[in-house]
Amino acid sequence: MTPKIELRGVRKRFGPKVVLDGVDLVVDPGESLVIIGGSGTGKSVTIKSILGILRPDEGRIFVDGEEVTHITGRARDKMLLKFGMLFQGAALFDSLTVWENVAFGLIQGRGMARKPAREIAIRKLAQVGLGAEVANLSPAELSGGMQKRVGLARAIAADPQIIFFDEPTTGLDPIMADIINDLIVNTVKDVGATTLSITHDMVSARKIAHRIAMLYKGKIIWHGPVADIDKSGNPYVDQFIHGRAEGPIKMEVKA
């Protein structure tokens, strides 16, 4: 079986700071993989490298078996049509209305007419529990949780094969976080997508993951099924999932 996404020895540094130090990662079709790790361990850089927003210094990245490491232009746009992404701060376009945000990828990316795109947008909003009455609001008029939902609706609007979730529950209260987790689980099931999430919220990770990988100092130091996370035998993983200040992981105050 061809992996949906594969990273081989991906390295990336910013100036003297090594962020990714040889990341090897495989995401199988239909799988939900969650990458856990502390702040600044390179989780976002991993996702941005796959999308081509950042270019790795070394290593290769494959999507559906095709190399996309240095892909540009039309080929890259075509590759990106497979993806949807929910950003940490939702990253909604504040100059557009809610429905225009949701339909953006359909109208701009795929050249769909506005009217059918709006209908799809309303349907996707309903899927994340938002009524048609929010469609004409501007994103600034929504609460943080609602913005996340709109971001989710935008990510799934074009029925992507692969969805990325960047810290989907960060900044939400525990109840809203659980609602978002449920929405992620359900929408992924409905759409049948492969997902890659990054988070440091273990509650969320346990809920949405089939498999968990832990990133530490630019390397994947452990990965396995979500059921095995408590018996990983890895002191780094144990410290992280229990949130202990004491342990092998030392917080670097100076980046």
Binding site: G89, L92, F164
Partner: protein, 257 residues
Amino acid sequence: MNIFAPIGRAFLLLLARIGSLTMFTWQAVSSVVRPPVYGYHILQQMMRIGYNSLPVVGLTAFFTGGALALQIYLGGNRYGAEAIVPQIVVLGITRELGPVIAGLMVAGRVSAAIAAEIGTMRVTEQIDALTTLATNPVKYLVVPRLIAAVVTMPILVAIADSIGVFGGYVVSTQTLGFSGGIYLKNTVDFMKTEDVVSGLYKAATFGFIIALMGCYNGFHSRGGAQGVGAATTNAVVSSSILILAANYLLTSLLFAK
């Protein structure tokens, strides 16, 4: 400590900046000719860059024209050449002051607004979001602003020229005792097409600089509100300096004899 290290570091940083600006410019200019074309966005930006700048550009042009008339009258007085006011006003406004004043005012207004808007989009990941929605951010954000600025600046400057000359006319006829008919006749007789056209070339160039510096600084802003603030300042400062430098270059090229 080696005293050459900081100098070298600053020099390398300067080279890196020039390199990234050159690449950004190339990306933007080469995207202009490639589809898709965002027609609605171009119109929207023309409204914001051009139409909304009319009051501020008109007022500054009016006062500049007025002050110019006064100075030429006083200066000309020293050797009995007061009558030359209309000719020098129209020459000064169309060739230099119209484009430069309009350019600087629009640089303050528009390149700051562009840098703040795009910079906020950068730090809130909206630009990355565009990419994931298979939309090229340079084409979607930069190209409409570049086209709109290059097209509207000459129109703005043409209006600024007329208002500037009118400012000189008002001051001359109301306080300096010129007859309105003679003033206008002298203005029109003296003015050549190339005076106005050279100013319009300058205007288009300044429009390009304004939009480019706004977009470039916005795109490369880092780290929250402070980063966006710095991007805005850099956009205004760099576009103003580049406008004045480009103005000198263009003057020496356009009027080379």
